[in-house]
């Protein structure tokens, strides 16, 4: 399996989820503030934002675990605003923390989850075996869930979320807190699921994950959606922007001063690796290296930086993506301690 985006054509599909002016407050905190969006059939829709932005609250409202203060939700043509149960047979949910039964085996957990959707015994056993095979958990089928590793727990939770073949799958931070290999495998599984026709609503704080998997992304900050667009359109934001990064033998904070004095048209900022120079015009590296070396700085590396979704995110939200990731990891570590 490889991580490959499905050929989502965009715009032609029917909306599977339609959310209009959804608002939710907790006491005096506005968790979700009049957000509107739609998720098309067959797409992977990313919901990207920092900690506390309102991602999980949105998922909870959409799946029926929380009630909105105002706004409307229509899932697969069914109005779920007042009756969230209306579409629960069509959706699968994978929460940010595995919530299966620790005392049951992997196989029993899947069978039990299937039974909640009214699937008969023979069919649910077959489906459980099939999913354990697909998710590489066949060997651990009869082991108690409590004894699974974090990655295995995550995979089984995803398997439980799709046991009833939902039309839409809600994935809340599916790769947070697990090892690189498991995260990669989970991303491949998400791609495969989408290729088989399942629409996916994915929340994540890993920008590169959203970039790899999603067709469209909504950036959510402090309960408000600040931008929704396709990856291509979002990346288009950085077109025409040229970035070159310089690294030095020894750390210095003077480099930007020299550059600003000699080339005022260039934007220079200090980054962890050295300095980063931005310009709407192509940057000639030679004169810059000469200037820096004439001022006694030994340039060890000069490289052209290709724009990423992270740059777009920073540009639109003003939030440093690295900080967002660190904050989340710290919180997870704290939670696990």
């Amino acid at each position: 399996m490889t991580e490959q985006k499905r050929n989502w054509t965009g715009g032609n599909q029917e909306s599977l989820i339609d959310v209009v002016k959804l608002t939710k407050t907790f006491e005096d905190i506005i968790a979700v503030n009049e957000i509107s969006f739609s998720v098309d059939e067959g797409e992977i829709f990313g919901f990207l934002g920092p900690n506390g932005a309102g991602k999980t609250t949105t998922i909870n409202i959409l799946t029926g675990l929380s009630r909105p203060d105002s706004g409307t939700i229509v899932v697969a043509g069914l109005d779920c605003t007042k009756n969230p149960k209306a579409a629960q047979h069509l959706i699968g949910i994978v929460p940010d923390e595995s919530n299966l039964y620790p005392e049951l085996s992997g196989f029993d957990n899947l069978c039990f989850c299937a039974s909640l959707y009214g699937i008969r015994k023979k069919e649910r056993c077959e489906r459980a075996r099939e999913l354990l095979q697909i998710f590489g958990l066949r060997e651990a089928a009869n082991r108690k869930f409590a004894g699974y590793s974090k990655g295995m727990k995550r995979k089984l939770t995803i398997a439980a979320g799709i046991i009833h073949r939902p039309q839409i799958l809600f994935l809340d931070e599916p790769t947070t807190g697990i090892d690189v290999a498991s995260a990669r495998q989970i991303r491949q599984l998400i791609s495969a699921l989408n290729s088989n026709g399942t629409s996916i609503f994915l929340t994540t704080h890993y920008i590169e994950e959203a970039e790899r998997l999603c067709n469209r992304i909504a950036f959510i900050v402090k309960g408000r959606i600040v931008r929704i667009d396709t990856i291509e359109n979002l990346m288009g934001q950085t077109q025409g922007q040229h970035v070159v990064q310089f690294a030095f033998q020894t750390t210095t904070d003077k480099a930007c001063e020299y550059i600003k004095a000699e080339f005022p048209e260039l934007q220079c900022k200090t980054v962890s690796e050295g300095i980063s120079i931005e310009s709407p015009l192509p940057i000639r590296v030679g004169p810059l290296v000469r200037l820096l070396e004439d001022n006694g700085l030994e340039v060890t590396e000069a490289k052209k930086i290709l724009p990423t979704l992270e740059d777009v995110f920073v540009k639109i939200t003003g939030i440093e993506a690295g900080m967002m990731k660190q904050e989340k990891e710290k919180m997870k570590m704290g939670g696990n301690a």
Binding site: G64, R67, Q88, N99, P102, F112, S115, G118, I119
Partner: protein, 245 residues
């Protein structure tokens, strides 16, 4: 049909995961036997008096069995977030909670059978009206289970479930006429007795044993059923209010 598959499997999972676990089986057997022994040692009565104690022993076995297990398991599942999985399934909250409580109702009823079986071998139960006694046992099991549910949805932590249960259970032992007639209670405590569901259950059990019921059976059954409805209604309301925020 699909909903009943879910109902049956929730019940089956709970029975396997909680009620058929060795500690619970031993609790279900030992607890009533300990009550029997304790009362005999304390009262110094002979076996011929066992029928007089049977209603109290059966009711206590049900009360402690149902409230202990249900309040803890529901709080435990809520804390571990596996309860969310049930809330997200396409079955109504009413059916879901009936499935969750059915295991405890069966467990409570079986708990009551322990002193009943013991009494069948040790005493003469020929005067017992089984047609009244057994439905009363089941109804007490239902009301106690719903009380356990009400406790479970009122607390956040597992340990709180136990302490909060005792807040209801211990006054019931003394105020419901299980071992001391309500008439012998101080007059200011009597209204409290009639505000507790077990009072009506105990009255039916005593009446079916020796005809000493204070109220007509129909009234006891009606009030006890009313308690079941009210406790179940407020439990669901609490879930809707607190867990589906």
């Amino acid at each position: 049909m699909k909903k009943w598959i879910a109902f049956w499997n929730i019940l089956l999972k709970d029975v396997r995961s909680y009620y058929l676990k060795p500690p619970n089986i031993s609790w279900g057997l030992l607890f009533p036997l300990v009550w029997i022994t304790m009362f005999f040692i304390r009262s110094g009565m002979g076996m011929d008096k066992l029928p007089d104690l049977l209603p109290g022993l059966a009711a206590l076995s049900i009360l402690f069995g149902t409230t202990s297990v249900l309040s803890v398991t529901v709080t435990f599942e809520k804390k571990g977030r596996s309860f969310e999985r049930l809330l997200l399934s396409p079955i109504s909250l009413e059916l879901l909670m009936l499935a969750k409580t059915s295991g405890a109702i069966i467990f409570g009823t079986i708990n009551a059978l322990v002193p009943i079986f013991a009494a069948m071998f040790l005493a003469d139960l020929s005067a017992l009206n089984w047609y009244i006694f057994i439905p009363a046992i089941v109804l007490i099991a239902i009301s106690s289970t719903f009380l356990g549910l009400f406790i479970a949805v009122s607390v956040k932590e597992v340990f709180e479930a136990q302490t909060f249960s005792n807040f209801f259970r211990f006054p019931m032992i003394f105020l419901c006429g299980l071992f001391f007639p309500i008439a012998s209670l101080p007059i200011f405590l009597r209204p409290l007795s009639y505000a507790l569901p077990l009072t009506y259950g105990t009255d039916i059990l005593h009446g079916s044993m020796n005809g000493s019921n204070l109220m007509p059976f129909w009234m006891d059954f009606l009030v006890l059923s009313g308690f079941c409805v009210v406790l179940f209604y407020f439990s669901l309301r609490n879930i809707n209010k607190k867990w589906i925020t």
